[in-house]
């Protein structure tokens, strides 16, 4: 069972601000799901390599050439707040 402190730690890592009600709900639901996932312990995976993706591709290379790119105005068009060509955000330190 996840404690409230553990839920708060994961919420902080996730950058989520949860209400006490949400913390209790997610604590309870995540505990159940993780308990269910415990069935994986039945598997002996000592010699099994992990599969991160299924394609037989390694690194994909391309020529380092200047191509078409997104014009600045388009890249900025969804900015919640801007200052010239900068994305503006609240105080950092």
């Amino acid at each position: 069972m996840l404690t409230i402190a553990e839920v708060e730690h994961v919420a902080l890592l996730s950058r989520l601000d949860l209400s006490l009600e949400e913390k209790k709900l997610y604590g309870d639901q995540l505990s159940k799901i993780l308990e269910y996932a415990k069935m994986l312990d039945e598997l002996d995976t000592g010699d099994v390599p992990p599969t991160a993706h299924v394609l037989p591709l390694k690194n994909v290379y391309r020529e380092d050439r200047v191509g078409e790119h997104l014009p600045l105005e388009k890249a900025m068009q969804n900015a919640p707040e801007r200052d010239g060509n900068f994305f503006k955000v609240p105080r950092i330190v």
Binding site: S14, D41, L43, V60
Partner: protein, 486 residues
């Protein structure tokens, strides 16, 4: 027959013969949307202006005497997680409520070049996380066969738009069954191609090692035509598979004599609704009568697929969704005092319950002290699941099973218990974990609701799936039924 229930190949013949213009066709579907949409809520955005403009361009090409490409002038709907330049793309999330992409996805460029008419952006579970389209941040979508029921998900809007005659074709995305399951529950054809067969450039990422774009269609012929357009290598997607393009229509109208069909016993037993099982057993008899050789198969690690999927998919999602921070686009909380406060408040306000739950689960599985026990363990178990399929395909050409363990469930029936909702994906998620192609094709009805049969194949054997699905469709004898929408 009503125009809005015709297939793309039937409508193409009408356009080519000059019986109808692309504009008239487009208008007919826009009218259909107006008449049924209040009951279905399949769309987030209807792109009327753009659609009519694209239709007019097709009419100009017809007037100029050009030969009409197969899907030119045919309306298509796109799941609202595919970027279309200048058209709001929300992923059914409040966090992207105002996002207007500055570029288009590769699939969008491809369907535009084919002369297809984009009629709108469809509803979905927020960020494609769900199996019922009830997790949309805007509205739930209804199943046209019974509006008290869910259409499945997460591409519920795309499935409904095709099933209800609001469009001819649609694109969805499938991370754990999100094309095949709603196709099954709505009575249409839906395919998840092999991982890497269709470019993901411009598809908003959920779980990058599992996500794949694929078609929804009224029949297998239409599905093959749309597959022809969207597949192919794309240098803009580093996980796009290199290789020559295939003409999938070449696999239509071919026989399946001697084809080896395996039926995984794990997908026909406990947990499968008896009505669904009866429909699939009858479908297997049809395949057998067409000369296929049917035998029991086994995928021994099937029961581990659900925990493996929900650890890997959420881990990848927690990383992918870190980008929604209120800095460059999307919702920003204006009250925040400093930047971390802004991240936390923007994300908490913008994401819905299921998305937060999955970010939390994925973050936990990746966090210090739990990575080996959960995430790495799941990656290793994924190898075992993939090996099950490799072994099965040594013996069989295709595997067949129910697409979903049940028919469309009632709205609200599974929303309180996320684990129950996750369990409804048992027959589809392994296909994503193994990266292989799967198609859901209508197989009949149980209790008045559609049942889909899933056909799975070796990597890049989409042609074989089209071949089997088309042969089955031509002999199954349940076609020609449409939702009454009274």
């Amino acid at each position: 027959m009503d125009l809005f229930y015709m297939t793309a190949h039937e409508l193409h013949a009408k356009l080519a013969a000059g019986e109808i213009s692309a504009r008239e066709l487009c208008r007919a579907f826009l009218d259909r949307i107006v008449s049924v949409e209040d009951r279905l809520k399949a769309f987030i955005t209807v792109t009327e202006e753009m659609a009519l403009k694209q239709a007019d361009e097709v009419d100009k090409r017809i007037a100029a005497g050009e030969e009409l490409p197969p899907l030119a002038g045919i309306p298509i709907a796109l799941k609202d997680n595919m970027c279309v330049e200048g058209i709001r793309t929300t992923c059914a999330s409040k966090i992207l409520f105002n996002f207007v992409p500055p570029y288009s996805a590769t699939v969008v460029e491809k369907i535009k070049s084919a002369g297809m008419v984009i009629i709108g952006k469809t509803n979905m579970d927020e960020f494609a996380m769900g199996s019922s389209t009830e997790n949309s941040g805007f509205q739930p979508t209804s199943n046209p066969w019974d509006t008290e029921r869910v259409p499945g998900g997460s591409s519920g809007g795309s499935a409904v738009s095709v099933a209800a005659g609001e469009t001819v074709l649609a694109l969805g995305s499938d991370t754990g069954g999100s094309i095949r399951q709603p196709a099954s529950l709505c009575g249409v054809v839906g395919m998840k191609p092999t991982y890497g067969a269709v470019s993901r450039y411009g598809l908003v990422a959920f779980a990058s090692s599992l996500d794949q774009i694929g078609p929804f269609a009224r029949d297998v012929d239409d599905c093959a035509q749309l597959l022809n357009i969207i597949t192919g290598h794309d240098p803009l997607d580093s996980t796009s598979a290199p290789g020559e393009k295939t003409d999938y229509t070449a696999f239509l109208n071919s026989d399946i004599k001697g084809l080896k069909v395996g039926v995984p016993r794990e997908y026909m037993g406990e947990g499968i609704d008896p009505g669904v099982r009866a429909v699939i057993e009858k479908a297997l008899q049809v395949l057998s009568s067409l000369g296929a050789d049917i035998e029991e198969a086994t995928l021994p690690h099937s029961r581990y697929a659900i925990p493996v999927y929900y650890l890997i998919a959420t881990a990848e999602a927690s990383s992918n969704l870190a980008r929604y921070d209120g800095v460059k686009y999307g919702l920003r909380d204006e009250e925040a005092q400093d930047i971390v406060d802004m991240y936390m408040k923007s994300r908490s306000r913008g994401f819905g319950t299921e998305v937060k739950r999955r970010i939390m689960l994925g973050t936990y599985a990746l966090s210090a002290g739990y990575y080996d026990a959960y995430y790495l363990k799941a990656l290793k178990a994924r190898t075992l699941i993939k090996q099950d399929f490799d072994r099965a395909f040594d013996r069989f050409d295709v595997l067949v099973c129910p697409t979903s363990p049940g028919t469309a469930f009632r709205k609200g029936e599974k929303t309180d218990d996320p684990l129950q909702m996750y369990l409804s994906d048992i027959t589809t998620i392994s296909v994503n974990l193994a990266g292989i192609p799967g198609i859901s094709v209508p197989a009949g009805f149980s209790g008045g609701l559609p049942v889909g049969m899933q056909i799975m194949g070796r990597p890049f054997a989409e042609g074989n799936l089209i071949r089997v699905a088309h042969a089955f469709e031509g002999s199954a004898g349940h076609r020609g039924k449409f939702p009454s929408l009274i």
